[in-house]
């Protein structure tokens, strides 16, 4: 071996290991090691409460005016859509889809809205469209404006990044009260809550799109004598259009994902309210049917925006099409006028398979509960509880069949040391560190470990991934969580998220590999992925509780279902994106297909897979509130308590803690991805 190299590589991990060992040994003796010293805790809640409330009340008149202004188009759209015959709307939607994507998209769109009518959700859906129809243009326009400003002013750009991160990661429930104070109750506040969450992807895409404009395009514009204004609108924006439209598309999806939350802020009895209420009543069939309305709206809007994005250059508003459109709409109006059933959808025509869906779920619960219980019990006992509380606390004669005696602990640590050394010898030092850290967490649990130990793990990871800036940010973030008094709740949430993200990532990568190798799997997966991402997560909770009951495992299932999608997508995309010439070169040098996969395609796809991990982490953390709704403790539950008591300060502290965890995890995952890319020679 290369001892000198090894020692250099291992010196930092060895110092870390010594420090952790010291911290664990001394935790019972020196106060402040196990938990942040309580005398140093800062009560941020009271001053935050005061500050936020007084600022909100001071700024109230302006925002109330804004609120009133925005409510006008919503009301107008609501009245308009409510009086539009459903048949005419379906025709209109199908025509728009036809213009965007041809006959297949038109059929899909018509089918989606027919589903809405047949299942009896027409009026609710129109109310949702009234809000969404205002929220989407406003979010897209605001995102575009911010993106352009950030592109032109470097100072803005530096500030905007963390602000966008906060907008995406602080749970909406954490700042509902100040929003309500500012804007008052009504559909507008729900719409703005969606906008906060939906604007960041648009801003990011605009900045990225404008950044990547080839130099020669700009030169051509300059030579043509374009003014700055012309340059922006006639040269830069059109060139960046594909990227911008991709961002708009993400914004549409994000707005739709907020429909349920918007409905509880003084909205209309719309489809989001329907989902929320059926969930509260445990009516699975009804909530699935209502959930699919949101899925279909998302798919239709997604395909139509994508269609327009791809066809921007063609003149599809030809004269003939125009005439045909008017004629067909006129015909639809006349037909709807003539047949009342096509005007207002009659209740007698409603077909709802909700009862059958419910009966099936009951049947499954009765017959397979033993199986689901066995799965749940083993995951809870061997994964969830040890990560949270540690083997040391969890293992008892009631559960594992033994208690952790000194001998048992000795055997555990000997085995783990062996594993670490083996990893050091056969793989890299990094892998060995990962093994050792995992062994440590599994034995003591995130709650059982001294906070100084957890913090040093995170700082070490931040150092290896992103250097000093990430270390400083992580340190500041963790100090905030610790001294604002949120450490225990944060660790409870992190332990659940950690398990959820790991499971989602491993499963997601496996499924993604299958999808990359087989086109049929890929084709089947696409609608499933779309559904998982746009179906309100509330809907999944009912069957999950039926078979797994209230508790952290149900929360885990919800997290995995929602967060698995990016892992699947990025893995498939990464594997399919292996450059042709690389594959040919490998084949030419005699690689078997197994070798090709393991030694060429998988390593090359690795950076992209890590980006998928990063998205999985973000989505997992976004589930912190949903996890609380099925009985998981931690930050989510405390945000809900703060909301009930209208405690602005508490909501802020816990909400910010969620965002900090997300941002640290994001920084580390992105840093590792960049390093790997560089190591593989993939970076541009």
């Amino acid at each position: 071996m290369r001892p000198a190299y090894l020692i250099r590589q291992a010196s930092l991990p060895l110092i870390l290991a010594a420090f952790i060992a010291a911290v664990i040994a001394l935790r019972g003796w020196i106060p402040g090691i196990q938990r942040p010293p309580s005398t140093l805790l800062i009560n941020l809640e009271a001053p935050l409460n005061m500050a936020v409330r007084s600022v909100a009340e001071w700024a109230q008149p302006f925002f109330r005016f804004l609120s009133w202004l925005l409510s006008i188009p919503i009301d107008w759209l609501r009245t308009g859509l409510a009086s539009l015959p459903w048949f005419v709307f379906v025709t209109l939607a199908a025509l728009a889809a036809h213009a965007a994507g041809g006959i297949r998209l038109a059929l899909f769109t018509a089918g989606a809205f027919l589903y809405v009518a047949v299942t009896g959700y027409w009026s609710q859906t129109m109310m949702t469209l009234a809000i969404v129809g205002v929220a989407i243009p406003i979010s897209v326009a605001t995102g575009l404006a911010i993106g352009i400003i950030a592109h032109r002013v470097i100072g803005v750009r530096r500030v905007i990044e963390p602000v966008l991160d906060l907008m995406q990661t602080v749970p909406t429930f954490a700042y509902l009260i100040p929003m309500l104070v500012l804007f008052g109750v009504g559909p507008v506040v729900g719409m703005l809550a969606s906008a906060i969450y939906a604007i960041p992807p648009m801003v990011r895409s605009v900045i990225l799109g404008l950044e990547r404009i080839p130099g020669e395009v700009i030169e051509a514009g300059l030579m043509g004598g374009a003014t700055r204004w012309q340059m922006l609108w006639l040269v830069k924006l059109p060139t960046a259009l594909p990227a911008i439209l991709l961002g708009a598309n993400q914004t549409v999806m994000a707005v739709l994902s907020m429909v349920v939350i918007a409905s509880i802020l003084g909205g209309f009895p719309d489809i989001g309210w329907e989902v929320y209420n059926t969930m509260k009543k445990a009516q699975f069939g009804e909530s699935v049917l209502a959930g699919f309305v949101i899925v279909f709206i998302a798919m239709v809007l997604d395909r139509i925006t994508q269609g327009f994005a791809l066809r921007t250059k063609q003149g599809f508003f030809a004269r003939r099409t125009r005439v045909a459109t008017i004629v067909m709409l006129a015909v639809a109006f006349i037909v709807a006028w003539y047949f009342p059933g096509l005007n207002t959808y009659p209740d007698e025509w409603i077909i709802s398979p909700a009862a059958q869906i419910n009966a099936t779920l009951d049947w499954f619960t009765r017959n397979f509960f033993w199986l689901t219980k066995a799965v749940k019990d083993s995951v809870v006992l061997y994964v969830l509880l040890p990560i949270k509380l540690g083997l040391l606390t969890v293992a008892s004669p009631f559960t594992w069949g033994f208690a952790v005696t000194t001998q048992a602990a000795l055997i555990y640590w000997l085995a783990m040391s062996g594993l670490t050394l083996a990893a050091c010898h056969f793989a890299r030092v990094g892998v060995a560190v990962a093994v050792a850290v995992t062994a440590c967490i599994y034995f003591f649990g995130l709650i059982g470990l001294p906070w100084l130990a957890v913090a040093s793990f995170v700082l070490a990871a931040a150092w290896s991934a992103g250097g000093i800036r990430l270390v400083i940010f992580s340190l500041a973030g963790m100090l905030f969580i610790a001294f604002a008094g949120a450490w225990d709740q944060a660790m409870t949430s992190v332990s659940l998220m950690l398990a959820g993200v790991l499971i989602a990532f491993v499963l997601g990568v496996a499924i993604g590999v299958l999808a990359a190798l087989d086109d049929r799997v890929s084709a089947v997966l696409r609608p499933i992925n779309d559904t998982l991402q746009t179906m309100p997560s509330f809907v999944f909770l009912i069957p999950a509780i039926m078979v797994f009951l209230v508790g952290e495992f149900t929360a885990l299932v919800a997290i995995v279902l929602y967060a698995i999608v990016p892992s699947i997508r990025y893995t498939e995309h990464g594997l399919r994106g292996t450059p042709e010439q690389v594959i040919e070169a490998a084949r030419a040098s005699g690689a078997t297909s197994a070798q090709l996969f393991w030694h060429v395609r998988l390593p090359l796809a690795f950076p992209e897979i890590l980006l998928g991990l990063n998205q999985t982490i973000m989505l997992g953390l976004a589930m912190v509130i949903v996890a609380a709704l099925v009985g998981a403790q931690g930050l989510g539950a405390d945000i809900m308590i703060a909301l009930t008591w209208m405690d602005v300060g508490k909501g802020f502290v816990y909400g910010l803690s969620v965002a900090i965890i997300a941002m640290i995890a994001d920084g580390i995952a992105q840093g590792w991805s960049r390093k790997l890319k560089a190591a593989l020679g993939l970076s541009s």
Binding site: S83, G184, L265, G266, K280, F333, A354, L541, A637
Partner: protein, 320 residues
């Protein structure tokens, strides 16, 4: 631009089809009275019936869907005007605070009698003779043991934000139970559904009046009723060393309004003050909406049509 014209033409077409019904004689203020709908069916029915009565008197009404915090904010601002069914358990301090600040006001008791208690599905009594007496429950807590709570039994408690009292009772009576918070009401109801489907034991903190109590044939455990001395004097009750050896006080259920409501719509305020509902009157209506899947508006209209003898006197008294 030409496409824009297409849309405008279409828009003009359907706008001409829309003819909003204009209300008849409108008393006091022609503005719309906004009801706050919270997230349970009983509340929707009470509000819709109150709204339907006001509509028949010529008022314009609308319903806004809200969460509790949003409802308080709306009522304080006058963006929302009435919530005809407000439970004051965890919300009591919030209400008292807003009332003291002059933002909201009470329009009297609704008449529902609320109760919060531990419930079990009827069939559990087959395996645990002596229920609903709490002494019997104490002997068969092992029926409720799960992996997470072993060796103790599992009590599915209220969501954490409803400030659950169960842990205090477990301690005061010495039950061999662990309280697991349910996360949300929907989660608790789903567990009832699951347990009933499997015919397995379940012990759950819940409340009445609620349709789930009838639907899943729930029975309440008999803990001693509330007494003020119970929470202050350890000597009171079965455990001479501990307080809280009794259920908590019955929740108040009232009608709340924006403080400016009675000035703007004096008659409407009086009508709502008169509205009274009993558990027996509300239960069948909730069943119609939740079990028979009838439309909320239709159920409210039907009740108002069929019970003129009940609500006409409210109106008469209010307009006197």
């Amino acid at each position: 631009m030409t496409t824009l014209r297409n849309w405008l033409v279409a828009g003009a077409c359907w706008l001409s089809l829309a003819n909003p019904a204009i209300g008849a004689a409108v008393p006091e203020s022609p503005d719309t009275i906004k009801f706050a709908l919270l997230d349970w069916t009983g509340n929707h029915i009470t509000n819709h019936i109150a709204g339907e009565i006001l509509t028949r008197l010529g008022y314009k009404v609308d319903y806004a869907t809200t969460a509790q915090a949003a409802a308080w904010q709306g009522l304080s601002d006058g963006a929302l005007h009435v919530n005809a069914e407000q439970w004051l358990v965890t919300q009591k301090p919030v209400f008292e605070d807003l009332k003291q600040k002059g933002k909201v006001t009470s329009l009297g008791q609704l008449g529902l009698v609320g109760r919060e208690a531990w419930y079990y599905p009827e069939y559990v009594a087959e395996k645990c003779t002596g229920l609903p007496a709490w002494e019997a429950l104490k002997k068969c807590t092992e029926l409720f043991v799960t992996t997470e709570t072993a060796p103790k039994g599992r009590l599915l408690d209220f969501p954490p934000e409803w400030t659950p009292e169960s842990p205090k009772w477990i301690e005061a009576f010495g039950f061999n139970l662990t309280a697991i918070p349910a996360g949300s009401e929907g989660a608790a109801i789903t567990e009832m559904k699951s347990a009933t489907a499997r015919h397995e034991p379940l012990l759950v903190m819940f409340y009445e009046p609620h349709w789930a109590v009838g639907e899943y044939k729930l029975k309440a455990v008999d803990l001693p009723d509330f007494d003020p001395a119970c929470v202050s004097d350890p000597k009171w009750g079965t455990n001479p060393e501990k307080t809280n050896d009794c259920y908590e006080a019955r929740p108040e259920i009232i009608k709340v309004a924006w403080s400016g409501f009675a000035d703007k719509w004096p008659v409407a305020a009086k009508v709502i003050e008169k509205i009274k509902f009993t558990n027996e009157a509300q239960a069948p209506l909730i069943k119609k909406v939740d079990i028979e899947k009838q439309k909320l508006e239709a159920v409210a209209k039907q009740w108002v049509d069929e019970n003129q003898a009940t609500w006409k006197p409210w109106v008469d008294e209010a307009t006197k």
